[in-house]
């Protein structure tokens, strides 16, 4: 198990190098340069030269890449062109908020998605199934942007139950978490339903029922646990997706997360921050995948890691 984890962690290094190279080239291939955007309409040639020199943008790209890679392994992600603060500092200010929002959204997704899927599966074809799947269809198709604004208009402006925007308390988290989590809840509901339906038709479920095991025990102990593997896989993938997908939710709710930082930095061609943020998301994604893989073993004792 330990060797497995170590081996997995070692494979992270080439992946990260690949991500680093891809992002580095991508931001530089986009037209427009950070000095120009920083100076805006007011740019004079001296100003542009000053800024380029200050941030090493006057060096050839391969020199920049080499320096950057070296620094990354020393834990230095460079300096933001816009704010002129270390990128690690910027990320440390924004990432915890994104993590909170994503965890909140995941909780919403799990609490709504899995029960809805179970109910739909144990009563297939009934009104419960129909309602759950209709809800899931709406949940998947609803644009996040629209849903967020509607939530603000109804629950904050009209009813006054929640603050409009910002962070700080649990009440601040509720609307953004639901907005971000509702799509994933819908996917999980559909996933849980189909996995459960498949498991419920298995022989051992019939056996369990035949020998008189209580209905609830059959559902939760015998069926759900076996149906969970695909659900956990999807949930893990979705979690990574939520990290990146938080951009729109963060914008609507003025939530100071990594998504907002990333969008602002891309628009300003703040290369160091874009690179740093993408690297961080990549690391998070890899870690989540690792955790998901390890969870398989906990859910299904037949799975071994050697």
């Amino acid at each position: 198990m330990t060797t497995y984890i170590l081996r997995r962690l070692l494979t992270v290094i080439p992946t990260l190098l690949g991500v680093l190279l891809a992002v580095f080239l991508m931001v530089r291939l986009a037209p427009g340069d950070p000095a120009q955007l920083l100076a805006g309409e007011f740019a004079t040639p001296e100003t542009l030269a000053d800024i380029r020199q200050r941030f090493g943008l006057d060096q050839p790209w391969y020199t920049q890449l080499g320096l950057y890679t070296l620094n990354v392994f020393r834990g230095d992600l460079g300096e933001s062109v816009r704010t002129r603060k270390p990128v690690t500092y910027e990320l440390s200010q924004y990432f915890p908020n994104t993590l909170r929002l994503t965890l909140g959204a995941m909780l919403v997704a799990l609490l709504i998605g899995i029960p809805a899927g179970i109910i739909a599966a144990i009563r297939p074809g009934t009104i419960f199934d129909l309602l759950a799947m209709l809800g899931a269809l709406i949940g998947v198709s609803m644009p996040v942007f629209w849903f967020g604004l509607m939530a603000i208009l109804i629950f904050s402006v009209q009813l006054g139950w929640f603050p409009v925007a910002g962070t700080g308390t649990l009440r601040h988290l509720i609307l953004p978490a639901i907005t971000l989590g509702i799509g994933t809840a819908a996917i999980l509901a559909r996933m849980t339903r189909s996995a459960m339906l498949e498991v419920l038709s298995q022989d051992y479920i019939r056996t369990a029922r035949a020998k008189g095991v209580a209905g609830r025990v059959v559902i939760f102990k015998h069926a759900l646990r076996n149906a969970l593997i695909p659900v956990v896989t999807i949930a893990g993938l979705q979690f990574g997706g939520l990290l990146e997908g938080a951009v729109i939710t963060e914008t609507v709710f003025a939530w100071p997360g990594i998504g907002q930082l990333l969008v602002g930095s891309i628009l300003a061609r703040d290369y160091p921050v874009v690179q740093g943020a993408v690297l961080l998301i990549a690391v998070a994604f890899i870690l989540i995948n690792l955790i998901v893989d390890l969870l398989y073993g906990a859910i299904d004792p037949r799975i071994r890691y050697d």
Binding site: A30, T44, V157, F253
Partner: protein
């Protein structure tokens, strides 16, 4: 016993009343500041926050005057090449250190230093050759040649005077912790969320009425409006045109419009056909209906241009406006050799999302041009790419007719005209991106820079703008208006034409005043 009861009750009531009085004014801006170090605060949200903490030597008042602020008085030498500043005495920075001539010298030299790489270094770089400390509160600025707009430039936020001790002590950390002489002190900055300022109880001037200011970062306009509607913010910037009516209808909210010094225009690339021909440039000007664009595209929140700069700027006078006349436009085009068989065709460049309704304005212009037989194709680029493309040198510049905006943020015509129309300022050296050139205009703009007498300068700018009008290097459009939602319990809140919000004179009305 009884007395104690009433006393307690009275105290409790008093306390609850005191608590009910808001002490923090909450302002929802579009984005989080990028830097709170004055020379690096290039965007409006940063500039607004900094202007409450850090003061400049001169002030550009909302009604368009340049008046002394940290300076008590000043004098020019007879050759106008030396400016002596007599600073106010007894002022301290928020960290307790003294405001004096050394501090001013430190800040102004810092602004122009290449190491700082401030976008606003050009305000003084090359204009001032030496800063000499005469005594503790007297500073002399030596200029290689007279430069009339120098006072206006010293009113620009980037020339703000900050504590040298704090800058030295905090290093890079200063950017999140500004120390000035202003009516508010920096308190804290929750990145991406808000900046909070607290009243400077030792302020040398009139102390503000409101104890705390909080500047929220809310990028989504609908969310910003919801904040004011629910009272979770008192002020919200940039009300979208479609929300104006709804918000105005609410008794607790006032929607305030303020002119902006930002002028929006299309420039013509005169280095190339077809816009090297003045008849074509005039034809386009006559084909565009500016009033209609302001009314229908901007929802009335703009002002059709009648000069290259907007009112409220020193040197502005009404020059005139190309009358909307499609027939005349067609005639001019025919003279230039364009007709139904050989229509004028070109690409119209416009940013999307940089200026108020920018792409909609471009679309309106496109359809108005179509009415006189001109086929313009709109192309839009993301802002970063757009700036880079428009700033290419003559040989490589592909733009033909392109929209840009310019804010004359110093309040002096020199800033709004020299960089945009003088032939030494052709891209990429300056902002003359259409490669316009007129030697007579060059001379007048140079004279206006060194002229001593304000009336004479006014007159020179009038002549200059007349020449510009006749040469039509631009298709003139409009100046923008800032639309701000302010809750009625707030009074005295100012929106400055240079796109700054000023809360120093604001206060909360009591319930009975509302």
């Amino acid at each position: 016993m009884r007395i104690r009861f009433w006393l307690t009750l009275g105290l409790a009531l008093l306390l609850s009343w005191a608590l009910a009085q808001p002490r923090t004014l909450i302002i929802a801006q579009g984005t989080d500041p990028t830097s709170l170090d004055a020379p690096l605060a290039t965007d409006s949200p940063s500039g607004t926050v900094v202007s409450h903490v850090v003061e400049t030597l001169f002030e550009y008042t909302p009604d368009g005057k340049i008046v002394p602020l940290l300076v008590e008085r000043y004098s020019f030498s007879s050759d106008r090449k030396t400016l002596t500043l007599f600073l106010r005495k007894g002022i301290k920075f928020h960290d307790g250190t003294d405001f004096n001539a050394e501090a001013v010298k430190f800040n102004l030299e810092r602004l122009i230093s290449p190491e700082l790489a401030s976008s606003f270094a050009f305000l003084l770089r090359g204009r001032v050759s030496a800063f000499e400390v005469v005594d503790s509160h007297t500073l002399r600025l030596r200029m290689p040649e007279p430069f009339a707009p120098v006072l206006a430039h010293l009113s620009h936020g980037s020339t703000g005077i900050q504590s040298p001790a704090a800058i030295r002590r905090l290093g890079a950390g200063y950017r999140d912790n500004p120390v000035g002489t202003g009516p508010y002190k920096f308190d804290r900055w929750q990145k991406g969320q808000f900046v909070e300022l607290v009243r400077n109880e030792e302020y040398w001037g009139k102390k503000p009425a409101i104890e705390r200011l909080r500047f929220l970062a809310v990028p989504e306009a609908t969310t910003r409006m919801a904040l004011v509607e629910t009272g979770q913010a008192h002020v919200a910037v940039r009300v979208p045109p479609q929300d104006v009516q709804r918000l105005s209808a609410r008794p607790e909210i006032e929607v305030v419009t303020t002119p902006s010094v930002r002028t929006i225009f299309f420039y013509f690339n005169q280095a190339k056909k077809p816009f090297d021909d003045v008849r074509v440039r005039k034809a386009i000007n006559h084909a565009i209906n500016k009033e209609e664009i302001v009314k229908f595209v901007l929802g009335g929140f703009g002002r059709a241009s009648d000069a290259p700069i907007s009112p409220g700027i020193f040197g502005y006078t009404k020059i005139g406006s190309y009358e909307y006349n499609p027939n005349l436009a067609r005639q001019l085009l025919a003279q230039a050799g364009y007709n139904a068989q050989n229509p004028l065709r070109f690409t119209l460049h416009s940013p999307n999302g940089r200026y108020l309704q920018d792409i909609r304005v471009a679309e309106a212009v496109q359809s108005q041009l179509r009415a006189v037989g001109v086929q313009a194709q709109i192309q839009t680029l993301e802002w970063g790419a757009y700036l880079a493309a428009s700033n290419q040198p003559r040989e490589r510049n592909e733009f033909q007719m392109a929209m840009l905006g310019w804010g004359t943020v110093t309040g002096d015509a020199d800033y709004g005209l020299f960089g945009l129309f003088h032939s030494s300022q052709h891209a990429p050296n300056g902002f003359n991106r259409g490669f316009y050139s007129n030697p007579r205009l060059d001379r007048i703009l140079e004279q206006a820079r060194v002229a001593t007498n304000p009336q004479a300068r006014q007159q020179l700018y009038r002549t200059a703008m007349q020449i510009i009008y006749n040469d039509a290097p631009w298709a003139f459009l409009h100046s923008e208006q800032q639309v701000t939602a302010i809750r009625r319990e707030v009074q005295g809140f100012i929106v400055h034409p240079i796109e700054r919000l000023i809360a120093t004179q604001a206060s909360f009305r009591t319930a009975s005043e509302r």
